[in-house]
């Protein structure tokens, strides 16, 4: 059974600081997704990571994937208040045939950036 663990689950940080959110998963997969969810809103896709060593950057967020370590990181650089949200990683189960399968989600990291 594929398990996806995020840590920390809660993160309070000051504006201007850097921090990393970790996403570990338990079985082989080379497709990992990061989503953002604002309070009362739906999930918005941030990054799609499809191979070992993949790195994607958008603004102050950078995501990476190490499939050998079964680890993805979401790094926040010089945080600003607008980044306050809950961040989810999700790993693709990839059933036989190679089609996109189910996503198994981590429990989310609730990020609060304070001035």
């Amino acid at each position: 059974e594929l398990k996806v663990e995020q840590n920390p689950l809660f993160l309070s940080m000051q504006e201007g600081k850097n921090y990393t959110i970790y996403c570990n998963y338990s079985t082989t997969s080379d497709r990992l997704y990061w989503y953002r969810q604002d309070p009362g809103k739906s999930l918005e896709s941030l990054f799609v990571l499809l191979s070992n060593g993949a790195v994607k950057q958008e603004g102050r967020l950078m995501a990476s994937l190490d499939t050998k370590a079964r680890l993805s990181t979401l790094h926040i650089t010089a945080a600003v208040h607008d980044l306050s949200a809950t961040y989810f990683c999700a790993v693709d189960m990839i059933p036989q045939g190679g089609s996109q399968g189910n996503l198994i989600f981590g429990k989310g990291t609730k990020l609060s950036v304070k001035p």
Binding site: L43, S45, V48, F88, G98, S99, Q100, F105, K107
Partner: protein
């Protein structure tokens, strides 16, 4: 842009009622999914579908059923609603085959069972 539309943002029903949650997507996606989201538990997959009239159980299908009569529409049915089904329900869709595109989510339906 992909649009996934859920029929209701908020819904209040009574125990024992049959409840229908509707989801429509406009991007001709093959795959559609229903999740529920609860505090501390994250998103859990209820049912999914890879094609019209096709359905597969997710992690927590008990007490739910689904219907996919048309490609663009995926309905979640609570056969006899219970208070433990009070939750946020999210529908998602994605393209099928070897596509690596992410799932696109609707705005969610916050369902309360009294």
């Amino acid at each position: 842009d992909v649009k996934v539309t859920q029929s209701s943002r908020y819904l209040v029903k009574r125990t024992g009622e049959k409840v229908f949650l509707e989801c429509v997507q406009d991007m001709d996606h093959e795959n559609m999914f229903w999740y529920r989201q609860d505090p501390g538990l994250g998103l859990r997959l209820i049912y999914f579908s890879y094609d019209v009239k096709m359905k597969e159980k997710g992690d927590i299908p008990e007490g739910y059923s689904v219907s996919r009569e048309k490609k663009e529409r995926f309905s979640l049915i609570l056969e006899s609603a219970s208070t433990n089904q009070t939750s946020m329900y999210l529908c998602a869709s994605s393209s099928g085959g070897l596509s690596n595109q992410p799932q696109h989510f609707g705005d969610g339906t916050r369902l309360s069972i009294l």
